[in-house]
């Protein structure tokens, strides 16, 4: 068969190529460029090799913010995943309650991130905010702008409020895809509610839960806007997660080299964790 040679088709790829170049490849390469050089403005660059990477990897400041980041992500996953599943289990499966619940659940997800931050900031203010005022008036010494524990508590509460819905919606979709016959079979066997959950619902939700954990991990690991508006990383540096610390370094101190190196390390950590997690889940999948 004779193949018609027509290279014009390549023109159709150009828009995508340009788009990807401008929004991913070129910015990333700029960061790579900065991470190996020192600049004093005026477009003067000096080669520094891996110096910035070594500096970041050995810096206590980076270790601290990375530690805070992992702690934060770990805590919110620990709360949001079980809570999300629990809420999904109690949601109605038919009737008018379904749309009502779904709409209520989607609400927090529709609110812009900085609005969430601002909302919670006002909500939690110890003197005028509903939450802060109530806590103080019932006897708690609560002030999220001054006490690190309270700042963490508020940030975590805000994230749980904002994002648990995502886990709920995914779990709910997973639960709804289970055929009623499974429940009946369990009922006939005389299985307890817990056994039904453990041996039918949980295995059937595995795929959506993997997705939920992965999404919540990535999102929370890259969290910026909400804690920035709520606490600004404070008090002190106690809620300065990786991205907040990164912006401080890049824009606050204008340390472009170290900041670029830190972004790349940050990027690789996210990539690595996702890859490892995904492969572990898929390996289990292949076994079963």
């Amino acid at each position: 068969m004779n193949k018609t040679i027509n290279q014009k088709a390549w023109y159709f790829v150009i828009p995508v190529f340009v788009l990807v170049a401008f929004n991913a490849a070129i910015p990333l390469m700029t960061v790579v460029n900065y991470s190996f050089q020192e600049t004093f403005g005026n477009n003067v660059f000096a080669w520094e090799g891996t110096r910035w990477f070594k500096q970041i990897l050995l810096s206590e400041r980076f270790h601290a913010s990375l530690g805070r980041q992992f702690a934060f992500t770990f805590i919110i996953l620990l709360i949001q995943i079980p809570l999300g599943i629990a809420i999904a289990l109690t949601m109605p499966k038919k009737g008018w309650g379904v749309p009502v619940c779904l709409i209520l659940m989607s609400m927090p997800l529709l609110i812009p991130w900085n609005v969430v931050g601002a909302m919670w900031n006002i909500f939690a203010l110890p003197d005028i905010g509903f939450l802060g005022y109530t806590l103080n008036s019932v006897g708690f010494d609560y002030n999220f702008t001054q006490q690190p524990g309270d700042a963490w508590f508020t940030t975590i509460l805000m994230d749980v409020w904002h994002w648990t819905s995502l886990v709920v919606l995914l779990s709910y979709a997973g639960l709804n895809s289970i055929q009623p016959a499974y429940y009946q079979a369990a009922e006939i066997d005389g299985a307890s509610r817990w056994a039904t959950f453990r041996y039918i619902e949980l295995p059937k939700m595995k795929k959506v839960l993997t997705l939920a954990i992965l999404l919540r991990f990535m999102d929370s690991f890259m969290i910026y806007t909400e804690p920035f508006v709520l606490t600004g990383g404070g008090p002190g540096n106690t809620t300065a997660f990786l991205s907040i610390d990164l912006v401080k370094m890049a824009l606050g101190q204008f340390d472009l080299g170290p900041a670029a190196a830190m972004s790349l390390i940050y990027f690789f950590i996210v990539l690595l964790v996702c890859w490892v997690f995904y492969n572990l889940m898929m390996k289990n999948e292949a076994q079963s």
């Binding site: 499974y182 009946q184 006939i188 066997d189 299985a191 056994a195 041996y199 059937k204």
Partner: protein
């Protein structure tokens, strides 16, 4: 031991899913619920099992009123159209699960699971998980789970519907044997008349939430009480026409085909039902009559030939043995075995039931 439904009715909102039904199923019988989708087979089974409560009426089991008693407290098991097994249990654990829950000793579980697995040809795959098995094997696992328990009532809800043809045939042959020497009542729901004939036992024909007729399968098939029952228990669909009878002579209203009938009924107009396999391309029986037909569709199904044809206003199906290829639009001659005609009166009741 028997299962008795007394005037059981099920309403959901304003819809009636099951009209008042009374049915008595005896011990050691296989009972087929035959009807199309939405006929109420599944609802009826769920009521029998106690998964669903009737709106009114009572269920008696073994001389006791069990209406409203929860399914866990009754000794029954169920197999579904979908292959329902615990996804992350092995086949062994799946089969053992009903026994584990009721606290049977490990040794006994081992022995009973082994026995059932052998019966259902699952011995080689006891350590596999359900997704590693073929559809047929998954359904065998589900069947094994139902059998291992020694239930008083085993409900099979279209268990073969999701299997491919070969597996279906294979399992269909085995099924009646599986229940042969068991002290239980088996209820088998299906949409296919051929399933009912193959399984035998008793059959209840259902339509739109009503039990039309219940009795020995062959009796229901050969002597349907009425036209509806005959229609439900016929695949391909039954051919129906209006006739007039005068003395021994019968004649279709729609054409001039005539035959002599020895059926002892009054003169008048009747409706007759002719099963497709009683209209053939060859003569069958001593009293066959000829009918002309214009071929609409001609299809082969295994070693049988289905010919859809029209004759005036009549649009009928015939089923002949062997491969009889006809061209569409061709005029052809077919033969009806008049001995097998079912005569129904104006109220659609069978009249030649003697």
């Amino acid at each position: 031991m028997s299962l008795e439904l007394k005037n059981v009715e099920k309403k959901v909102g304003i819809d009636t899913h099951i009209h008042p039904t009374s049915l008595k199923l005896e011990k050691n019988t296989i009972n087929v619920l035959l009807g199309s989708t939405l006929a109420g087979k599944t609802t009826l089974m769920q009521i029998m099992a106690g998964l669903d409560k009737p709106t009114s009426g009572e269920i008696w089991f073994d001389g006791k009123n069990v209406t409203g008693m929860k399914v866990q407290k009754r000794n029954c098991s169920m197999v579904y159209q979908q292959f329902i097994n615990y996804p992350n249990y092995t086949v062994y654990e799946n089969i053992a699960s009903p026994l584990v829950i009721t606290g049977v000793k490990t040794d006994e579980i081992k022995q009973r699971v082994g026995k059932v697995a052998e019966l259902l040809k699952l011995s080689a795959m006891l350590n596999k998980k359900p997704d590693e098995l073929s559809g047929g094997q998954q359904q065998r696992t589900a069947l094994a789970r139902a059998l291992v328990k020694d239930s008083d009532l085993i409900l099979l809800d279209e268990p073969l519907a999701n299997l491919d043809f070969k597996l279906r045939e294979e399992l269909r042959e085995e099924l009646p044997k599986l229940f042969e020497d068991r002290d239980c009542i088996v209820v088998y729901a299906t949409t296919e008349p051929s399933d009912a004939l193959m399984i035998g036992g008793n059959t209840a024909t259902l339509l739109e939430g009503k039990v039309i007729q219940y009795g020995k399968t062959l009796e229901v098939y050969n002597k349907p009480e009425n036209l509806i029952s005959a229609k439900v228990f016929s695949d391909p669909p039954m051919n129906i026409a209006e006739i007039t009878k005068k003395g021994e002579n019968c004649k279709f209203t729609d054409n001039d085909v005539q035959w002599k009938s020895s059926v002892k009924i009054k003169d008048g107009t009747y409706r007759i039902g002719i099963r497709p396999h009683n209209i053939t391309t060859y003569k069958e029986g001593n009293n066959s009559v000829e009918i002309n037909g214009k071929v609409q569709i001609s299809e082969l199904s295994g070693s049988e030939s289905l010919i859809h044809f029209t004759n005036g206003n009549l649009s009928w199906v015939s089923l002949s043995n062997g491969t009889q290829q006809k061209n569409v639009g061709e005029d052809t001659k077919l033969y009806m075995n008049t001995d097998e005609f079912l005569y129904f009166d104006q109220n659609n009741r069978l009249v030649n039931n003697g």
